[in-house]
């Protein structure tokens, strides 16, 4: 029996637009399990990214609950949310979003320094380890602008996990990468998941979704189906792709 790490009940998100309201999420119920590599898929405009941001507390839902460790994220103060972001959650963006005038090493260590459970030197050591693991230790003093997209995204992953988050959120992490870099990033995320890291990823790329242990399909702000998969193995990739594509097609993707 898996433990639920994060769940939402009746999650709603609306935006004001031209004097009216656009309802993106209309009562989303979802459970995310500990240790899973969960992927949210859906057509463009289905609300998958909004779901990710609402669940992670990056964006405040307009209704419903998001429960993490028994607390409702929706009702948290800015300070509590900030603590959640640098302590319990990690986040990877599609456009990497590294601070442009910090070196890769500094981009990774800044959230680390916010974590009071580690000293600065322990954070530096952990950052070095992560950079080594991500294959970017040779460019640690480079600014983001001096690195390739893949290198930047690997740095963003290292930044996201510097504080050993309970749950790692990823919003289309391969969306801005070429094929080779996409594979490298997905391999890293799979590796992280194998080591016990819970991941919740949004993607519209079926190939990326194949890395998941569970796929949720969202349409018009509601979850309409889920698919559980066995742990990812490289040799099973083709077979998983076929299975996932068939499931997605059945859901109207």
């Amino acid at each position: 029996m898996k433990n639920i790490i994060l769940s939402s009940r009746g999650l709603c998100k609306s935006f004001a637009h031209n004097g009216g309201q656009i309802h993106i999420l209309t009562g989303l119920d979802v459970d995310i399990y500990e240790g899973d590599f969960t992927v949210i898929m859906g057509a463009s405009g289905s609300g998958k990214s909004t779901t990710l941001y609402s669940l992670s507390g990056m964006d405040r839902a307009t209704g419903g609950q998001v429960l993490y460790k028994g607390k409702d994220i929706v009702k948290m103060s800015e300070k509590e949310l900030a603590s959640l972001r640098h302590g319990d959650f990690g986040f990877i963006f599609q456009q990497m979003h590294l601070v442009s005038n910090l070196t890769l090493f500094e981009n990774i260590t800044v959230p680390g320094y916010l974590n009071k459970s580690r000293t600065a030197s322990e954070t530096d050591k952990r950052a070095d380890e992560l950079m080594e693991k991500m294959g970017i230790s040779h460019i640690k003093t480079h600014l983001p602008g001096q690195c390739s997209g893949g290198e930047q995204q690997r740095c963003a992953i290292a930044r996201a996990v510097i504080n050993d988050p309970a749950l790692l959120f990823a919003d289309e992490p391969t969306g801005a990468l070429n094929k080779r870099n996409t594979t490298e990033v997905l391999d890293l995320m799979t590796e992280l998941n194998r080591s016990g890291q819970s991941i919740l990823m949004v993607t519209h790329d079926a190939r990326a979704a194949c890395r998941a242990s569970r796929i949720l399909y969202i349409e018009d702000g509601k979850m309409i189906g889920s698919l559980d998969l066995p742990p990812y193995e490289k040799q099973d990739e083709k077979r998983r792709e076929v299975q996932v594509n068939a499931w997605l097609t059945a859901n109207g993707f």
């Binding site: 990214s49 963006f93 601070v99 005038n101 320094y113």
Partner: protein, 779 residues
């Protein structure tokens, strides 16, 4: 052009903040110079009108009426270079008057009421119309005496024969010629009846005691184009009128005395405006640079749509010119009340009621000049648009605004400080401009603080002083110096004696006051050249140089009675005394002219408790002198207090304007940084930073910039303030400005500006709270 104007309109609508900031700064600049320039123009206009109404000639010669012989009248009346001469009688009261029974330490002059007399209303904001004639026993005081005496006060003095005259103050009038605070004369107006009565009781030069002496002011109008200085020489050659005169200022010299403080004000404001315009140019260059970086895609699109780089640059020029012009117009409008307040303030010094008109044409032209200068810099600042590639811009490829630098400060704990330092070091070019702006502001504020706290009003009313005043009872000379000082030192070893010997002497045909000092020979410090050291050297004022045509290195002839000597001019000095017409010799130099009578003599004690002992010793040892405790002249004391108060007000106004200016700059810079760093701020929030930490980082960053600017400004101030202020104040006779060097004066401006900038940056960064991490989402 229409398409460019469409772009301009859109930018003005969407980027209001930057343009409002520029307009606001321009408005402050325009208010600053409009007030000062208008005040100066209004004063010049009022002085011209007043001099015309008072029928003031090109040359004013005052001499004792006893000396006004028929020969002199004939010489004046028949001189071909004199078109007209008017003879006015003035009574000089050589006796301290009693006011309501109390002796007052001032000297008064009395002139007869005429219809030209302009009498102030109760609050001195206008002149009374209707009949203002004085009745017997009434007196009008000049405006500058308003703080010493009031309406209803009774002034009494006695003639030599013991006749007591009693005059009741009826009000204040505007003395158009001697009224300024910088002129020591206190000319009052009395009724023709009183004037006749007092004249009848006046002493004569032959009398031993002279309580009242009648003088004649000869107002001379020269024929067109004839120099009053030349005329003085010519008249003196004919009848020695200048040799006999008490003083003989030209109209130009009289006017300069009235305009002294506004002239100093104009100089200070000129420097202030130059510095502020420099700051505005830097902030505009920064703003344009940021705009180009942030809008490179939009600008690339414009290039791809056929706009030339010159058209895009023109768009920036038009936008900023509109902002500057709007600020100038608002500044001119707001100058009306500001100018009125400033004019009232300066009236206390010039004692001349002026209109509160704005010199709209001149100020508009000045605004236009500033805008034109700015336009040149705006055009230069947009040069990088020519390097903009439409393809690269549209593809989102831009030169990163940050660069890897060895200066980069590592990001460590505490994060707000290290991130703040990193922002500065990774964008040095941008922040260097900011540091320079703060340096300029701090430099000016320190200079103003130094000016206000160090301005020595004693230096304006330059004269000898000390703890004990020695009055010459007839035969005291410079040669007595050592014997008197020996007596003083027996009572107070550290005390010393200062003597001044002064007399009018004929210098190159003109009667000029010549002074020499036994000790304070450097009382007047040279503005150029050096003070006289040897007995054949002389230092003169610029006025003397102008009227004699002699310069440093030239020889000049001095005649006194039967002695004629040649002196070499070693330097120039400035003074407000004697209408700026004066010369200084060494003590040996004046002795060489066979003159060494003492006009002023003071003892400065090292131990003031020994004053009575020293006074008694002097009075019992020497018959030719009378020693008493020195008292400061009441009117001079009041004037000094007034000037000090005014300086404080001017200092506070400039301070407030500068802090406001700095705050606007900080708000603009914060806004610009906020726009540039919006994404980075979102990222920081996404990784767990709270708004308050990011705001602190913002404020710390500008604090660091301000501190660096303060250091630069302080260093510049240490090097430049003193010579700069000295140069500005030469006109006021202050040739060696003693700049204050106390820690508070030097650090207070920096502390105030740094604290203000920290607060302004923190407040201006409130928008960080509104940044949502959601903005990073790519749907």
């Amino acid at each position: 052009m229409k398409s460019i104007m469409k772009l301009v309109t859109a930018d003005l609508r969407t980027k209001k903040g930057a343009f409002i900031g520029i307009a606001f700064l321009m408005m402050l600049i325009v208010i600053s110079f409009t007030g000062t320039v208008s005040n100066n123009d209004d004063l010049i206009k009022a002085v011209d009108e007043n001099f015309a109404q008072a029928d003031c000639g090109d040359l004013l010669i005052r001499l004792y009426s006893d000396m006004l012989s028929d020969d002199i009248r004939d010489a004046v009346n028949n001189d071909p270079h004199i078109s007209r001469a008017r003879y006015d009688s003035t009574l000089m009261i050589y006796q301290r008057p009693h006011v309501n029974g109390e002796e007052m330490e001032i000297l008064l002059e009395l002139s007869e009421y005429t219809d030209n007399c302009k009498v102030f209303n109760d609050d001195c904001t206008a002149f009374l119309t209707g009949d203002t004639a004085l009745q017997k026993g009434e007196i009008y005081l000049p405006y500058k005496l308003r703080t010493l005496m009031h309406t209803g006060d009774v002034i009494t003095f006695t003639a030599n024969d013991g006749t007591e005259f009693s005059l009741t103050v009826k009000g204040l009038y505007q003395d158009p010629i001697f009224g300024a605070l910088t002129v020591s004369s206190n000319r009052c107006i009395i009724s023709p009846e009183d004037h006749a009565d007092i004249t009848e009781k006046a002493s004569h030069l032959t009398d031993r005691a002279r309580n009242i002496l009648a003088c004649t002011d000869i107002n001379i109008h020269t024929t067109d184009g004839h120099s009053p200085y030349e005329l003085k020489k010519e008249l003196n050659d004919k009848c020695s009128i200048i040799d006999m005169s008490l003083y003989s200022p030209s109209r130009e010299e009289l006017e300069d005395n009235i305009k002294l403080f506004t002239n100093v004000g104009v100089r200070i404001v000129f420097v202030y405006i130059v510095l502020l315009v420099t700051v505005v140019i830097i902030i505009m260059a920064n703003s344009i640079s940021s705009n180009i970086e942030m809008e490179h895609t939009d600008l690339g699109i414009l290039r791809s749509q056929g706009f030339t780089q010159m058209q895009i640059r023109l768009k920036f020029v038009i936008e900023y010119t509109i902002a500057l012009a709007a600020g100038a117009v608002i500044g001119l409008i707001l100058s009306y009340p500001a100018c009125g307040a400033l004019i009232r303030l300066f009236m206390r010094l010039s004692c001349t009621l002026t209109s509160t008109d704005i010199s709209i044409g001149k100020c508009a032209a000045l605004s236009l000049l500033i805008i034109l200068i700015c336009v040149i810099f705006i055009f230069a600042a947009t040069a990088k648009i020519s390097k903009l590639s439409p393809v690269r811009a549209i593809s989102g490829i831009s030169e990163d605004m940050y660069f890897n630098s060895r200066l980069n400060i590592p990001v460590r704990k505490p994060l707000p400080l290290s991130i703040a330092l990193r922002q500065i070091t990774s964008d040095v070019k941008n922040y260097a401009g900011s540091i320079l702006m703060f340096a300029i502001l701090i430099f000016f504020l320190i200079s103003i603080s130094v000016f206000v706290s160090s301005f020595d009003t004693d230096a304006v009313y330059k004269g000898m002083n000390g703890d004990i005043k020695i009055t010459n009872l007839g035969s005291l000379t410079l040669s007595d110096h050592d014997s008197i000082e020996n007596v003083i030192k027996q009572k107070d070893e550290g005390a010393f004696l200062s003597m001044e010997s002064s007399h009018r002497m004929n210098i190159d045909g003109q009667q000029i006051m010549v002074r020499a000092y036994s000790r304070d020979k450097d009382l007047f410090k040279p503005t150029y050249g050096r003070a006289p050291v040897y007995d054949n050297e002389i230092m003169i004022t610029n006025s003397v140089s102008r009227s004699t045509g002699k310069e440093i290195g030239d020889s000049i002839q001095i005649k006194y009675i039967s002695t004629t000597e040649e002196f070499v001019i070693t330097g120039y000095f400035s003074t407000v005394n004697e209408y700026g017409v004066m010369a200084c010799l060494t003590a040996d130099g004046i002795k060489k002219m066979h003159y060494e009578d003492i006009s002023e003599c003071y003892v400065t004690l090292s131990d003031r408790s020994k004053a009575n002992e020293v006074i008694n010793a002097l009075n019992s040892s020497f018959d030719m002198l009378s020693a008493e405790r020195a008292k400061e002249n009441e009117s001079t004391k009041k004037y000094k207090k007034l000037i000090d108060g005014l300086l404080d007000i001017i200092g506070y106004v400039i301070y407030s304007m500068s802090v406001l200016f700095a705050s606007v700059i900080v708000v603009m810079m914060t806004r610009s940084a906020f726009l540039r760093e919006r994404t980075d701020l979102g990222i920081y929030k996404a990784v767990g930073m709270v708004s308050s930490t990011l705001r602190t980082q913002f404020a710390v960053r500008f604090l660091v910039v301000a501190v660096m600017g303060s250091l630069m400004g302080s260093i510049a101030s240490a090097a430049v303030t003193k010579p700069m202020l000295t140069s500005m104040l030469k006109i006021a006779g202050i040739t060696e400005f003693e700049a204050a060097s106390d820690i508070l004066t030097l650090t207070m401006p920096s502390a105030i500006v740094c604290a203000g900038i920290f607060a302004a940056a923190y407040l201006a960064s409130h928008k960080i709270k509104k940044i949502e991490v959601r903005e990073l989402i790519t749907e």
